[in-house]
Amino acid sequence: MHRSLAVVIPVLVMTMTTAPASQAAETVWSGLVIAENVSQPQPAPSELTRIEGLLKRFFGYNQFQVIGQSQKILKTGQEDWLATSKFFGLHVDARGETQGGYVLNLKLYKEKELLLETETKLSKRSPLVIKGPQVGGGQLLLVLVVQ
């Protein structure tokens, strides 16, 4: 009986402690993407492979180029960071972890000018795409993915 107890108790303890351990630090990729229609499109960067189909169908462009990006490991869920290109800046301010994601405050700047602000609950399994301003013949897109 003592032997079986010695097996059962550690198994239960491990089962109980496994769930919190799975909530490890996660990486959020945020990118500034220029979507264009070109005759010979370049392959999409690896960060966008997962949503390339969605981008093509939804926005109607065939090429997606990253002009600025940032990868941030969220440990506390309270971090903030900046993804920038030459003229644009995306400021991301994490405001806590929720069940299955993070609450983020996003601000898109054109140089020092605030174009757009939004607050979102970014799911770990659901990317966010924001349609930005028209840039030349293409479109600025903001993409956030929990990797």
Binding site: K86, L115, L116, T120, K121, V129, L140
Partner: protein, 174 residues
């Protein structure tokens, strides 16, 4: 000096002897009747001695059964009393406590798993990224509008802005 009745009783029991016996028998008015009465008394005495012996116990098995039950009952009461007085003799032994704790923990885990599974449908609604609010600077883009699309097919959310100020191609620079 003994009364007549005492002497009579002693004479019937052959307790008189010698001079006392001869004097008493001489004082009897009818010695033959007295001897007959003495003989009857002896017969009666023998009859009583024979008939009034201890009555043998015929239901000895029933009696011993009752006796055993009484002994067992008293032994049980004593054992219970000892158990009540002794703090160490309890049903809650250490192994039993451990098992009870483990079983409670297992029941708790099972309940937790069931509750979590039942909450899964609610989680599905939070599966997609949610836009809590969105605002476009009205000074820079006074006619801009914002729409939200949840693309369940791709498990993605799109924040669609319309009417933002268009920018020249130079702004696409890295």
């Amino acid at each position: 000096m003994k009364a007549f009745e005492e002497k009579w009783t002693a004479w019937l029991d052959d307790q008189l002897s010698g001079r006392e016996l001869s004097e008493f028998e001489a004082s009897l008015p009818d010695k033959a009747a007295a001897q007959a009465e003495k003989a009857d008394a002896k017969k009666l005495s023998e009859l009583l001695k024979r008939e009034l012996t201890a009555y043998p116990l015929k239901n000895e098995e029933f009696f011993s059964h009752q006796l055993r039950e009484k002994i067992v009952q008293e032994s049980g009461e004593e054992a219970r009393e000892r158990a009540r007085r002794s703090p160490t003799s309890s049903w809650w032994t250490i192994p039993r406590l451990l098992w009870a704790g483990t079983a409670s923990l297992a029941v708790f885990l099972i309940c937790t798993v069931l509750v979590v599974r039942q909450e899964r449908p609610a989680e599905e609604s939070q599966y997609l990224t949610q836009i809590l609010n969105a605002r476009v600077d009205p000074v820079v883009s006074p006619n801009a509008t914002v729409s939200i699309f949840e693309v369940k097919q791709d498990h993605a959310t799109v924040l669609w802005t319309e009417g933002l100020q268009s920018l020249p191609a130079d702004y696409a620079a890295k």
